[in-house]
């Protein structure tokens, strides 16, 4: 379970995350939705202890991330899939992660197999396609067999096959009783993947409801349009027209 309490992040230029409170329950996929720049990635970075909150807390299983012993066995995160050293192979990337948390070589082989990366394991990162980098990122997230998974914009730039793979994977992991948080700026994608939605705009919570409720409330209308109505007031930069 992930608990976010009154989480706030202010920069010199403004507020990225504004008094955000929500809970991500285990056993279902929770979609973390918002337009680009809504504060999704900043929130996720604070949950992972990468960014320091201005105020508020983010807890994983009741503990702040920094208090986790062997964190990869508690939380698996997919951030930017392209954040790899270009000349390091896929297997060595997983190896340093495994070593850092005292995980054995066997887990490396298992997650390579699980993500269909076994054949590409000896390839250097700069030769991997975006889809393969995404799979490697998922393999890294699964390495410690964690109870909590956080996937930040996992389908960005993926081909249809990759999109479906991520969708099914997220559902399967939630089906195993894990806590799964998937961020996206695409409502239509989340409607297919998530059982629950947390929607934010300009760092503020706009909605926290079951996906079904959102869909039936907007029955008949295009989901992406309904999402835009919900977040419309909070979009900072729009192409064309006055703000």
């Amino acid at each position: 379970m992930i608990e976010v309490h009154n989480l706030t992040k202010r920069y010199r230029g403004g507020t990225a995350v504004d008094d955000l409170t929500f809970t991500v329950e285990p056993g279902r996929v929770t979609g973390f939705l918002g337009p680009n720049g809504a504060g999704k990635s900043t929130t996720i970075r604070m949950i992972l202890g990468l960014d320091r909150p201005t105020a508020g807390t983010a807890l994983i299983g009741g503990k702040p991330y920094s208090a986790l012993h062997r964190p990869l066995t508690a939380v698996g995160a997919l951030l930017e899939a392209s954040a790899l050293h270009p000349t390091r192979t896929a297997r060595e990337h997983l190896r340093w992660l495994a070593r850092s948390n005292g995980l054995g070589e066997r887990r490396i082989a298992e997650v390579l197999e699980e993500t269909g990366m076994s054949a590409a394991a000896s390839k250097r990162a700069h030769t991997l396609s975006l889809g393969m980098k995404q799979r490697l990122g998922v393999a890294a997230a699964l390495l410690g067999d964690p109870e909590v998974l956080i996937l930040d914009e996992p389908v960005n730039g993926l081909d249809p096959e990759g999109v479906i793979w991520i969708r099914n994977l997220a559902k399967r992991l939630a089906g195993e009783g894990r806590t799964v948080l998937v961020s996206s700026h695409l409502m239509s994608e989340m409607a297919l993947t998530a059982a629950h939605l947390v929607v934010i705009g300009r760092g503020r919570l706009l909605a926290d409801l079951p996906t079904e409720e959102f869909v039936s409330a907007n029955d008949g209308s295009n989901l992406e349009e309904a999402f835009m109505r919900l977040t419309g007031a909070s979009v900072e930069f729009r192409s064309g027209g006055p703000r």
């Binding site: 970075r45 992972l48 992660l97």
Partner: protein, 251 residues
């Protein structure tokens, strides 16, 4: 294995798994060994006895620029590629991650410097023959020890600066001209010498017999081990600065 040992082991995997490590450390060896052979061939005895180590240290100090590139690139690539986030997610204690990284980089450099210095010294002795620096004299041992410490600490210093600046290019752009200043002898210009002699790349010159205290033109106001002590202070200051930067900033 302790949490620190695990983190250090992960850092070692990072170092040995990228191509730039092989390239830079290999180039360091080639430059230092090749240059020492060329310089030693042109060595003519007749000067002070300690001149026999000049080819060793001229070669090592030129190779040092490549060694520094290794140190800076190893640290800087974490920031330029964005893997720093994965590193911090895996090792949330920033102090531990930083200590593990500096330990792994430092030990790698210490090992590379030791091997290459031994090779260079052996080659120079072979080429010079009679009049080569005797290994049973304290001044030779002291010079070799000092040179090894200098190469290692100066590289660790630059690695820590790279953590502060979070960039390979920026760090090298600032540090390489400064290090060139020393290797090209510009640090001996009268007007800047009183200050320049205390720069981190300069303080090892006395122990390596590239200059002596009291020399009218190239002299220093400190002795061999005092120079090394100043380098230790520089390195400690940079390590503390890197640690503060690691702790404070968002990833």
């Amino acid at each position: 294995m302790s949490a620190f040992a695990q983190a250090a082991s992960a850092e070692w995997v990072k170092i040995r798994s990228v191509r730039s490590t092989v390239v830079t450390l290999g180039l360091f060896a080639v430059v230092a060994v090749g240059l020492s052979w060329l310089i030693a061939r042109g060595f003519s005895p007749g000067g002070p006895e300690t001149d026999a180590v000049l080819p060793v240290f001229f070669a090592l100090l030129t190779g040092q620029l490549v060694l520094v590139t290794f140190a800076v690139a190893t640290v800087g690539s974490e920031f330029s590629t964005g893997t720093i986030r994965a590193s911090l997610a895996a090792v949330p204690s920033r102090g531990r991650l930083y200590a593990a990284k500096m330990t792994a980089v430092g030990l790698t450099i210490a090992a590379a410097a030791l091997v290459v210095e031994a090779a260079v010294f052996g080659l120079v002795r072979l080429v010079i023959g009679d009049g080569a620096a005797p290994l049973d004299e304290w001044w030779t041992i002291q010079a070799l020890l000092g040179g090894w410490i200098h190469l290692t600490l100066l590289s660790v210093f630059t690695a820590a600066v790279a953590v502060m600046l979070r960039s390979t290019v920026l760090t090298l752009s600032i540090l390489l001209p400064v290090l060139f200043l020393g290797s090209q002898g510009l640090g001996n210009i009268d007007t800047i010498r009183p200050v320049a002699q205390y720069l981190p790349d300069q303080v090892g010159m006395v122990i390596m017999h590239l200059t002596v205290p009291g020399d009218p033109r190239f002299g220093r106001d400190y002795g061999p081990w005092e120079g090394i002590a100043i380098l230790v202070l520089w390195t400690a200051a940079a390590l503390i600065g890197g640690w503060i930067a690691m702790r404070r900033r968002d990833a």
